[in-house]
């Protein structure tokens, strides 16, 4: 329950009708009643209990809350839940194809030490997944730019960049193998 801290106190005392939304998250359909200003991050975390999406700032500055909406990365703390209606939302919990496997990005982050405290990690992975979806073979500069909206205080980023690079190469090799 983290509303915008800057919201002036008086405004929300007015009873505003909640809206019932149909959301599709990680392929599952949910019905939730939300206020018009409720962020997607808040619905994911509080209502759907998908807490892998983190809130590091609630202001669009840190990227910890990054999810995919129709395949594009968004900061879910700034993205209104009502806007997600009728769209496909993917969170970190839905990045791997099945619950018992890992996405190559997840494997690479583990193997190359692309995480420490893990608080930025879900957002980093979702931004990386978006990057690879439009730039399957990024060079180092493209990886760094692709992650420029995601802050990490622990790793110094270099191992994250290595992880994304390794995952991209593996995905490209797998593609080559199956083609």
């Amino acid at each position: 329950m983290r509303g915008k801290a800057s919201e002036p106190g008086g405004q929300k005392t007015l009873p505003v009708a909640k809206r019932v939304l149909e959301l599709t998250v990680n392929g599952d359909r949910y019905e939730v009643a939300v206020e018009p200003w409720t962020s997607l991050a808040q619905v994911l975390r509080d209502e759907l209990r998908l807490t892998g999406t983190k809130v590091g700032c609630n202001e669009g500055d840190c990227g910890a809350c990054t999810v995919l909406v129709d395949g594009r990365s968004v900061s879910s703390c700034l993205y209104l839940a009502v806007e997600a209606e009728g769209r496909d939302v993917t969170t970190i919990e839905g990045l791997a194809e099945t619950p018992d496997t890992l996405h190559p990005l997840q494997e690479a982050f583990i193997e190359h030490g692309g995480l420490q405290c893990g608080f930025c990690t879900g957002g980093m992975l979702m931004s990386s997944a978006f990057l690879l979806s439009h730039t399957p073979e990024p060079d180092e500069g493209e990886i760094r730019r692709g992650l420029s909206g995601n802050l990490c205080r622990c790793t110094g980023y270099n191992k994250i960049v290595e992880s994304v690079d390794a995952a991209a190469k593996r995905l490209a090799a797998d593609e080559g193998g199956t083609a």
Binding site: R2, T53, E93, C117, C120, C154, T155, G156
Partner: protein
């Protein structure tokens, strides 16, 4: 005996899978039935007397379940420095006075967070605004307002160190210089904002889940402020999203969550915003450092005199430690035969500063290393050569304080010199490009018992089972750095079992053995690691007897533990599976489980630490003379952290330190005007992003410290220090601008170039 291969291995964190899938649970992810949401009312004034608080309107708001102010509490002063009660100056909620913008005045809990926040706005507080001071100089000036009645004049603490006859040594010096350096206050900026959730427990007890580095300290101070026996308070550390020193004290929201959970009979959760963290949270100390150094003409240090003013902010927090450590680090790295230090800790009405990664070292070493580079310039000696001439060596002591039993500083300097192509790059000037150097040293855990614990500094319990598995219970706190993995590596190495067979329970004060002082001072690997060794060796004693019985061994034999087997070292075929050995021992004990406690307390190790790390860093930059923008192009680091237990984790600490050092050097500063932070968002308080990070090459200088488990020393904090002075030197080398002030923003560079 050879070191088991798991020591020094690159092992990913054992909990990494949970972190990459979003399953790892942090405090704010938790929700309990009937849970209430808390909010804090903070002071809008930097210094004021509280005349009256009226909470009636807040209480009347539907959905509000409790409102508390200082009057509802026991009004006991608390703080981490239990050893010196006079230093404990903080209240969980303000009593009579507020001393900084953001000082906590009241708290509310309600059915939802919005209601709690609205209720805070309905609390009426009548203040009598008092004159305030915002710099150490103002605070010490004649006639300055008194911030804490016990300390008229605002000088909270003084620390002096002196040895070697400083005045006499300066008269012998052929070269003397004196400089003043200013370093700003900066934020830990851990990504996880603080959060605490408390639930009432049977019999008037309470459980608190909190984002902390120090569950034991929180337990003890929470019990004191609640007026409960320690054993009534259970503190559990879930996953923690970084701390860097900012989460090592009892904080108001932890108290309020527990207090209101007890009062309402319902779980209560508080979670801070980023603005709360940046505007009011703990921070690194701003300091003014005046340093005077005397040398012979050929660059041998004879004396140093360091005078430091530290900006406390409104409360002492961990300031007494900071005041000592700056003086300690001022004397490190080099053989300084005569040294004098005066540190003064000064109350102001800024938000309180406290521990942050490197604690005292980034400031002391910015001043010391910049000054040494200036000395090198004036004496016409290469800065690395000057350092080598004076470098501390193994066995050197800081009188009365500590001895460095191992020291790879000289080797580190030589390594970065050779690996970076230093000699050639310094000689061949290229327009706008420069190269600089700095060194560092840090402690592997603190010796001084400021918390006044009656328990061992760290403890653990190891249990082994007949299925070949083990259980490690420890209060040591992994806050992201990976100590849960490192401690299991040490146990796996010692018991000779697969690391995946070790279950870990950590950071739960009701379950893990008392005590562990927490994660700070880079203490976990050395101290908790030694406790694990102690427990493991006791377990091995219990198991060795089984082999002696089984094989009727000659008394001279030794028993080895490796590959999930226990065997006679000289006759490896004589042995059995680890699990079978436990089974046989268990039968022999007629069912009494095999469990052992391990402890570590640094005794007879001086005043500071059992072991020092060392390092050296060379940095190459390019400076744009039109914009003043500094780009860091390459970092070379050589690092003596003893024997690394987990190479990947050590590299991670190094790279994270460079990130933090880079921000300290070039961009980070909490801009505070009259006690109000003006840049309390990540947009305005800029920590380096992925694009800002330079390529980095690192080299381990392996020393085997006799006090460290398998020879390990610290890796988490030392390397946060050299980056800023090395960059400052590289900027000078590039464009001839010296900065004695951090951060070195484009504006400061342009001012130095005379373009502004």
């Amino acid at each position: 005996m050879s070191t088991p291969p798991i020591i020094g291995a690159r092992i990913p964190q054992l909990g990494a899978r949970e972190k990459v899938t979003g399953q790892a649970v942090y405090t704010d992810d938790m929700k309990l039935p009937g849970m209430l949401y808390g909010a804090i009312l903070r002071s809008p004034h930097a210094h004021a007397r509280i005349k009256r608080i009226d909470t009636s309107k807040a209480r009347a708001l539907p959905g509000v379940k409790d409102v508390v102010t200082g009057d509802d509490t026991l009004k006991v002063a608390y703080g981490n420095w239990r050893l010196v009660p006079d230093i404990q100056d903080e209240y969980v909620l303000a009593v009579d006075k507020v001393r900084y913008v953001g000082d906590e005045v009241a708290a509310v809990c309600a059915l939802d967070a919005d209601t709690a926040r609205r209720a805070c706005e309905l609390i009426e507080v009548e203040y009598e605004v008092l004159p305030a001071v915002f710099s150490v100089e103002e605070a010490l000036a004649e006639g300055a307002p008194t911030i804490r009645a016990e300390k008229p004049g605002n000088l909270s603490l003084t620390r002096e160190i002196e040895y070697g006859g400083v005045d006499e040594a300066f008269t012998r010096a052929e070269y003397v210089r004196e400089d003043t350096f200013r370093v700003p206050t900066v934020s830990h900026a851990y990504l996880e904002p603080c959060s605490a959730l408390a639930a009432p427990d049977e019999g008037g007890r309470v459980t608190l889940w909190t984002s902390t580095q120090t569950p034991y300290i929180v337990q003890v101070l929470l019990a004191k402020t609640l007026g409960l026996p320690e054993n009534h308070v259970r503190v559990i550390k879930p996953q923690v999203g970084g701390g860097f020193g900012g989460k090592m004290e009892l904080r108001t929201w932890e108290f309020c969550a527990a207090f209101m959970a007890l009062r309402t009979g319902r779980p209560v959760k508080f979670t801070l915003t980023r603005a709360d963290e940046l505007a009011y949270g703990r921070r690194r100390h701003a300091m003014v450092l005046r340093s005077k150094i005397g040398l012979t003409r050929d660059g041998v240090i004879l004396a140093k005199d360091l005078d430091v003013l530290l900006d406390s902010g409104g409360y002492n927090a961990m300031g007494a430690t900071a005041t000592f450590l700056v003086g300690n680090f001022g004397a490190m790295l080099y053989r300084i035969p005569a040294y004098r230090y005066l540190g003064r800790y000064v109350y102001t009405n800024n938000p309180p500063a406290s521990a942050m990664r490197g604690f005292g070292a980034p400031q002391a070493l910015f001043a010391g290393e910049c000054q040494l580079n200036m000395v090198a310039e004036e004496l016409g000696i290469d800065p690395i050569e000057l350092r080598i001439r004076n470098a501390m060596q193994a066995g050197d002591s800081v009188p009365g304080v500590a001895t460095a039993r191992t020291c790879g500083f000289r080797e580190a300097l030589e390594k970065v010199r050779d690996a970076s192509g230093w000699v050639e790059k310094r000689a061949r000037k290229r327009p706008g490009k420069g190269i600089g150097v700095a060194g560092c040293s840090f402690i592997s855990g603190g010796v001084f018992n400021w918390f006044d614990t009656k328990y061992h500094f760290t403890s653990c319990e190891v249990r082994v089972f007949e299925d070949g598995t083990a259980h490690l219970l420890t209060m040591a706190s992994d806050i992201g750095q990976g100590s849960d993995t490192v401690l299991r590596q040490i146990l796996a190495a010692e018991l000779g079992i697969d690391i995946h067979k070790i279950r870990l329970t950590a950071g739960d004060t009701a379950v893990t053995p008392k005590a562990d002082l927490g994660t700070w001072g880079s203490r976990v690997t050395l101290m908790a690691g030694n406790a694990v060794l102690d427990a493991a060796r006791k377990i091995k004693e219990m198991l060795a007897g089984v082999l002696f019985m089984e094989y009727d061994l000659n008394q001279i034999h030794d028993v080895a533990f490796a590959g999930d087997r226990v065997f006679v070292r000289a006759k490896p075929k004589r042995g059995m599976d680890f699990g079978e050995c436990v089974y046989k021992a268990l039968r022999g004990r007629r069912g009494e489980p095999l469990t052992a406690f391990g402890y570590y307390t640094p005794r007879d190790k001086g005043l500071v630490t059992p072991a020092f790390s060392f390092g050296a860093q060379v940095i190459e930059v390019e400076v744009d003379e039109d914009t003043g923008v500094v780009s860091v192009e390459q970092v070379h680091t050589a690092h003596d952290s003893g024997v690394p237990i987990n190479t990947m984790a050590v590299e991670g600490q190094l790279e994270g330190s460079i990130h933090m050092g880079l921000g300290y050097a070039l961009s980070e500063e909490l801009i505070t005007v009259e006690g109000r932070v003006r840049n309390a968002t990540f947009l305005d308080y800029r920590i380096p992003a992925a694009e800002d990070m330079p390529p980095s090459a690192s080299y381990e200088i392996v020393t085997r410290d006799p006090e460290g488990p398998y020879g390990a020393k610290e890796a988490g904090e030392g390397l946060v220090s050299p980056t800023a002075p090395a960059i400052a030197e590289a900027i000078w080398d590039a464009v001839g601008v010296r900065s004695d002030t951090l951060p070195i923003t484009p504006q400061r560079v342009l001012e130095g170039l005379g373009k502004l």
